[in-house]
Symmetry: C2
Subunit: 199 residues, 2 copies
DNA sequence: CAAAATATTTGACACGGTGTCAATAACATG
DNA sequence: CATGTTATTGACACCGTGTCAAATATTTTG
């Protein structure tokens, strides 16, 4: 066996950075190969295809991001937790110069996900999976809040509503790039869900 | 002057249908040319570039869609208006087989909109413009509702929240394709904004 | 230590996409 | 009918994905 001449994880990192910044279709394997100091053919040999490379890079990101969200949702009053959740969400959208947006939302809308066109069902499942897991995390947080009397209502419905808002925020970020606006919507959403003054 | 051999508007219609179904990057001018029975070169001559063709096709759609929304928001109680608004929004996402999603949200996330990459600033403005105009429409509706005592709170904040939810719904549609879920979120949002039983 | 086995790298290739250009064709107008 | 103007057409350059066979560098085996 001839050993690989590049760092598998390092390439994944570099690739994801570019996919995130320029979109999946807007990033060529030549770009990634140049940036990583690897031949294009080696990428095909190691990952199979652009799609497979993206998926691996995305899964890597998704794991890290989910862990960060879990941490943000882990301490303080319910209001504090939700605030930290939205804060991390928005901060993540606005990372980099120029802001790179939400990789999940961008990927999901870019790759079609419909039968026949765009990336495989695999990609859609990866995106949908992260969204589902985020929703579950928020729902658990709300359920716990309900036990402490910090929240009344359906945790499932509220969690889905909150996550829907975060997806909407990802879109607004792309449209207007107005971070204060995003934070206003986040604050308003927390107020609506928790009751104007509650917490 | 030699006259054009194809119908300008017809081509715009055909092009938008394909952009909507397969995404902008996923649609080639060859596809459109074949479908429209026109030579690819003629499209470049008539529209300049793929980007310009998309923009014209999109503006056409945006005008029609905005008019339909305005109509939906035009009659009945505030709750009825908002219900009609969400209904039209979701129905629009789920049009076609397979569902084509929200062209605005898909285009916005697909085309990057960030400096340097993806489509021009022009495209971002077109998408952002439609979102802004929708927000203004909803805001006006809420303001009118406030006069009739059907709504209390900030129309601007509520309108932005509602439109954010619709953008989020566009994303969820792509992720899960679960129309009942979308309608639940919509109903829940109306309840939150108007008060559980109000209207 | 030599040689076989095996995986990686490399460069050439086919194919399809965007966009440009010059040559050609079709009409309007004088 | 001659001329100017615009639309059409086909060839081209360039870049993208993906495939393949040949060359290369290790590890394992004799």
């Amino acid at each position: 066996m001839r050993p690989r001449e590049f760092d598998h994880d390092e390439v994944l990192r570099i690739a994801f950075e570019q996919f995130w910044r320029k979109g999946v279709r807007g990033t060529s394997l030549s770009d990634i190969a140049r940036d990583a100091g690897v031949q294009r053919g080696s990428l095909y040999n190691a990952f199979g295809s652009k799609e497979a490379l993206f998926l691996q890079a995305y899964e890597r990101y998704a794991g890290d991001y989910l862990a960060a969200l879990q941490k943000a949702l882990g301490t303080g009053s319910l209001r504090k937790r939700l605030t930290a959740f939205f804060d991390l969400t928005i901060t993540n959208f606005r990372a980099g110069t120029p802001p790179r947006g939400c990789p999940t939302t961008r990927g999901l809308m870019e790759l079609g996900a419909a039968e026949g066109e765009g990336l495989d069902e695999d990609a859609r499942q990866a995106f949908a999976g992260l969204i589902s897991r985020i929703t579950a995390l928020v729902q658990d947080t709300l359920s716990a809040g309900a036990k402490h009397g910090e929240f009344s209502g359906s945790p499932a419905a509220a969690a889905l509503h909150i996550v829907t808002v975060t997806r909407g925020l990802a879109v607004l970020e792309r449209a207007f790039g107005d971070e204060p606006q995003l934070r206003k919507v986040a604050a308003h959403t927390i107020d609506l869900v928790l009751g104007r003054k509650g917490g």
